[in-house]
């Protein structure tokens, strides 16, 4: 995953280096950030539902363990879906 900590706003605008190449790179980064955020948001939602019962004063050990496993399983699921969808698209294109 691309890093999403750095700030691209100041440098390019000031030095006037807003060529298409720079714009495209910046857009790609922003898209990657948006996708990461979407993934995290949905993962948090699912894992909270699966792992946290009646909310207590803190996350206990079993809840934390569950959430950690849930994160990995969500990534596995996401990758499985991505592969399956890609296969299906290729099959559909082959038919045309």
């Amino acid at each position: 995953m691309d890093s999403f900590g750095s700030d691209f706003s100041s440098g390019a605008a000031e030095s006037g280096k807003m060529d298409p190449g720079t714009i495209m790179e910046q857009v790609k980064v922003q898209i990657a950030v948006a996708n990461a955020q979407e993934l995290l948001q949905r993962m948090t939602d699912k894992c909270f539902k699966k792992c946290v019962g009646k909310p207590g004063g803190s996350l206990d050990n079993s809840e934390q363990k569950c959430i950690a496993m849930c994160m990995d399983r969500y990534m596995d699921a996401w990758n499985t879906v991505s592969r399956a969808y890609n296969s299906r698209l290729q099959r559909e294109r082959a038919r045309i």
Binding site: I31, L39, K46, M69, D72, D76, W78, T80, A84, Y85
Partner: protein, 83 residues
């Protein structure tokens, strides 16, 4: 517009549509296929996800096809919705 930029926009838009659908299907299929998260994704669960993707796309195509048929027979969708 710069043709390089134009192509870039088309390619990235298509990539995004793909990503969005993966997010959506993972979400929906998680509800259908996932019990308690374990140490790994067992093959039965994995098969469920694969089937889920296929059936989701089948559903989407089914809806589009039937919509097309209904429109030919009964006029617009909004007409057939007004009862």
């Amino acid at each position: 517009m710069d043709p390089q930029l134009q192509q870039f926009i088309e390619v990235e838009s298509q990539k995004q549509r793909f990503q969005q659908l993966v997010h959506q299907m993972t979400d929906v299929c998680w509800e259908k296929c996932m019990d308690k998260p374990g140490p790994k994704l067992d093959s039965r669960t994995e098969t469920c996800f694969v089937n889920c993707v296929e059936r989701f796309i089948d559903t989407s195509q089914f809806i589009l096809n039937r919509l097309e048929q209904t429109q030919r027979g009964r006029g617009s969708l909004t007409e057939s919705m007004s009862d």
